[in-house]
């Protein structure tokens, strides 16, 4: 037990230790060697990770905490409720859908961990509706390397529409260029003499939205542009600058929380411009949640937004309301609820189209085929060369506390904005696909 070992013994020990360590490493090398994709016999038949005889496991990353949580946390809950409803009806091809929701606090660094855990620990079949531009961009490369279907990202960034670079990634929102262009065009058509300004989030969301507005009103058509950072919950300086610039219409590329912040801050300054907002921050019930029942109807009267999903008195909305009551503990029903259920429905449709024994390849193939219809007011734009969901949006407005479509729908094709007629998809088979 003496700690002073004689030299010869120590030499023996040292050598022994080295040999043992080397043997250990060589031995271990055998047990965790990755299988090269080309050698994997399963590769020929396709990858069905996350699919069992009775279940399909998918996952998402979304803000349940942090600055974006109040505006968006109801989306994943609504999607879960729809899946519960669908599972109650027998699921898709006899399989129930298990939907794992992971919180990332709208922070790209957390998204990295959450998504790695979903893919590597929980072994999900696909990532569905990962929320946020900056957050999802941080995992785009990782999902591509692991060939995980990355369906219906909850963001309107044009990054998701790069079929050559990211063949497995598909967007869900109408992209921000489309939304900006539609709002810009609507302003130009209806209020040609008013000065248009933009308040945008300090990332691709803001950049692309501005690009869209410029598409409609021209590069010189924007009077003033201001940016905000999500990590700073104060937009007084930006609102002051917009007011000083004499803005009459302010187009917002803001998430719900910051839409409310901008509108509220302006009201406090006694300034009431006309507000236009992208669909990501234009949900009236959510904004009421932020601004309060007393203030909201006053400051949000005439609030103009965009949307591409069913609204107000629609048969989809009626069914979603029932699902919400039964499977979501009658949680407050808002635009996010409709959004979440619509995404979930579209996934179910894609899964049904992927066949009896779905593989990741078949799922991606089903979406790129262009055969999915979804439930929007315009046809889905998915196809072999397009991973964008919607190329157009309808203009909405708030009147007496009710948000609904106006008679104005715009589409952006080949860099030009044009007015189109909406063609809503009718509800079929109680929103249970695959029959």
């Amino acid at each position: 037990m003496s700690h002073q070992s004689p030299a010869p013994r120590s030499a023996v020990r040292r050598t022994g230790g080295l040999i043992a360590a080397s043997a250990l490493i060589v031995g271990l090398a055998a047990c965790s060697t990755p299988t090269a994709p080309s050698d994997d016999p399963a590769a020929a038949e396709g990858d069905s990770t996350g699919v069992t005889d009775t279940t399909v496991t998918i996952g998402t990353h979304t803000p349940l905490t942090g600055p974006a949580a109040a505006g968006y946390s109801s989306i994943s809950a609504a999607a879960s409720a729809y899946f519960d409803y669908l599972n109650d009806q027998g699921g898709v091809n006899g399989r129930t859908i298990e939907f794992i929701v992971k919180d990332d606090g709208y922070n790209p660094a957390n998204t990295q961990t959450a998504v790695r855990e979903l893919v590597q620990q929980d072994e999900v079949f696909a990532i569905l509706n990962g929320l946020g531009t900056a957050t999802h961009q941080s995992v785009l490369e990782f999902l591509d390397q692991n060939s995980v279907p990355d369906l219906f990202v909850a963001s309107g960034s044009t990054s998701w529409n790069q079929p050559d670079t990211y063949p497995n990634t598909f967007g869900f929102n109408a992209d921000y260029v489309v939304e900006g262009a539609a709002l810009g065009q609507y302003a130009a058509d209806e209020f040609p003499d008013k000065s248009v300004c933009v308040l945008g989030q300090d990332d691709d969301f803001g950049d692309e939205f501005i690009e869209g507005v410029e598409l409609a009103v021209g590069a010189d058509g924007i009077t003033e542009t201001q940016r905000y950072s999500v990590s700073n919950q104060d937009v007084t300086a930006q609102i002051g600058a917009l007011q000083a610039a004499g803005c009459e219409i302010v187009a917002l590329a803001t998430i719900n929380g910051f839409t409310a912040l901008a509108v509220g801050t302006a009201a406090q300054l006694g300034w009431f411009p006309q507000w236009f907002s992208s669909s990501s921050g234009a949900d009236y019930p959510t904004l009421v949640g932020y601004l309060g029942e007393d203030v909201a109807p006053k400051v949000l009267q005439g609030f103009t937004g965009t949307n591409y999903l069913p609204m107000a008195d629609d048969e989809w909305v009626t069914l979603f309301r029932e699902i919400n009551d039964e499977f979501n503990d009658a949680a407050p029903f808002d635009g996010n609820t409709i959004y979440g259920m619509s995404v979930a429905y579209l996934f179910a449709e894609a899964l049904a189209a992927a066949g009896e024994d779905p593989t990741r390849e078949a799922l991606v193939e089903a979406v790129s085929s262009g055969d999915l219809v979804g439930n929007g007011i315009l046809p889905l734009a998915f196809g072999p060369d397009s991973h964008a969901a919607y190329l157009g949006v309808g203009i909405t407005t708030v009147d007496q506390g009710v948000q609904d479509y106006l008679d104005a729908t715009y589409e952006v094709r080949d860099g030009a904005v044009s007015a189109v007629e909406p063609s809503p998809v009718p509800l079929s088979n109680a929103a249970v696909p695959g029959e």
Partner: protein, 388 residues
């Protein structure tokens, strides 16, 4: 672990040579250990290794030189941004692979070093809460800095960097995450070894002298200001390397990854592990990686109501870290690393075979373990118990 100290295998070696040999052995073991882990755990290991760089630097700064930094996340961010900017510039210039990685790593360390030097110059004039305030301001200002210069730093979205694939020679042997863990371990081991050598050397001795009694140190000819600046710079360099590794693993850097909460987490890791102890830094960085994940898995397994789970998510870890910090301060002021020392001392007493050094190590003096490690300038002996 057999309880036997690693250096005892190599009694002939002393000083820096022993540090180096120990480092090589431990590194090889850690690299071998990655074969036991699945990809996600290797990712966690790589993350822990990146944190280790920063925590080891921080533990040296707080534990040895007695200066508290609440802004180490910002120094890591400096490394991360330095890495990303250099890596992207080099990618545009057509460089990739190992040269790109090494050049970016060096740039990251240099940038963090410069920032650390600036902070250190200020720190040498400040004490305790004032220094804490300064470093705190830096980490709080980080999102504003990245927003103001958003053409360079791209605001909240941060920077994305090119992916470093597994080298062709290793492609069939290891997976990406394992490769990333290897790189992280190698960088961490270089950083930690360098810090250990600094700690054992003249600079380390001077840091302790300055920490214990600055006036006495000055009277003995120790250039106290320079020592404090050097401590900050060395510690910042380590944090910068950590930030670079984190950016290498995740291929991105954004202000959201380097919040005040993260800065505090690094301090928690240093304290829970054991202030001033490199071994403690290893334990601490493991704890801050594994604990939130364990808690997340635990709450998920409990099948709690959705609303409660939502409330706990993201908050529970902070709560547990706070509780852990208090528990450690009360029960084991010398941190988890102190447990090993205490066990050795007990064993030595019982077995009768005195380990001369361990036996003469004084029991942890409570005043040496003040969480900040900076308040005490009374000049009493403030021995950090883990001396090897």
């Amino acid at each position: 672990m057999t309880g036997r100290r690693v250096p005892r295998l190599l009694p002939g070696l002393t000083g820096t040579r022993r540090v180096l040999v120990t480092a090589v052995v431990l590194t090889v073991l850690a690299l071998g250990g990655t074969f036991l882990l699945d990809p996600f755990r290797n990712f966690q290991l790589a993350t822990a290794a990146a944190y280790l760089c920063a925590v080891a630097g921080l533990t040296l700064l707080i534990g040895l030189s007695g200066q508290l930094s609440l802004g180490h996340a910002a120094l890591m961010a400096a490394g991360g941004y330095g890495y990303a900017l250099t890596s992207n510039a080099l990618t545009d210039a057509g460089l990739d692979g190992l040269p790109r990685f090494l050049a970016s790593l060096v740039a990251a360390v240099v940038i963090a070093c410069l920032l650390g030097l600036l902070l250190g110059l200020a720190a040498a004039r400040l004490r305790g809460p004032y220094l804490a305030g300064l470093t705190l301001a830096l980490v709080i200002a980080l999102p504003a800095i990245t927003s103001v210069w958003s053409p360079v730093f791209r605001g909240d979205q941060g920077l994305q960097t090119a992916y470093n694939p597994v080298p062709t020679a290793l492609e069939r042997l290891i997976a990406v995450e394992q490769w990333q863990a290897w790189v992280a371990i190698l960088v961490a081991s270089v950083v930690v070894t360098a810090l250990t050598i600094v700690r054992r050397g003249t600079l380390g001795l001077r840091m302790r002298a300055v920490r214990d009694d600055e006036t006495a140190a000055r009277l003995n000819g120790v250039p106290a200001r320079s020592v404090k600046v050097a401590a900050f710079t060395v510690s910042a360099a380590a944090a910068g390397a950590g930030g670079a590794v984190l950016c290498f693993i995740t291929q991105s850097v954004s202000p959201g990854g380097y919040t005040l909460a993260f800065s505090l987490l690094l301090v928690v890791a240093a304290i829970v592990g054991g202030l001033g102890s490199i071994g403690g830094a290893v334990i601490g960085s493991m704890v801050i990686v594994v604990l939130p994940w364990l808690l997340g898995a635990g709450t998920a397994a409990l099948d709690l109501p959705a609303e409660l789970e939502q409330r706990l998510s993201g908050n529970l870890a902070v709560l547990v870290f706070g509780a852990l910090l208090i528990a450690v301060m009360l029960l084991r002021p010398d941190g988890l690393a102190g447990l090993a020392g205490a066990w050795r001392r007990r064993r030595a007493r019982r077995g009768g075979s005195a380990l001369p050094r361990a036996a003469t190590t004084p029991p942890a003096a409570a005043d040496s373990l003040d969480p900040a490690g900076v308040a005490d300038t009374s000049g009493h002996s403030r021995t950090i118990p883990i001396e090897r």
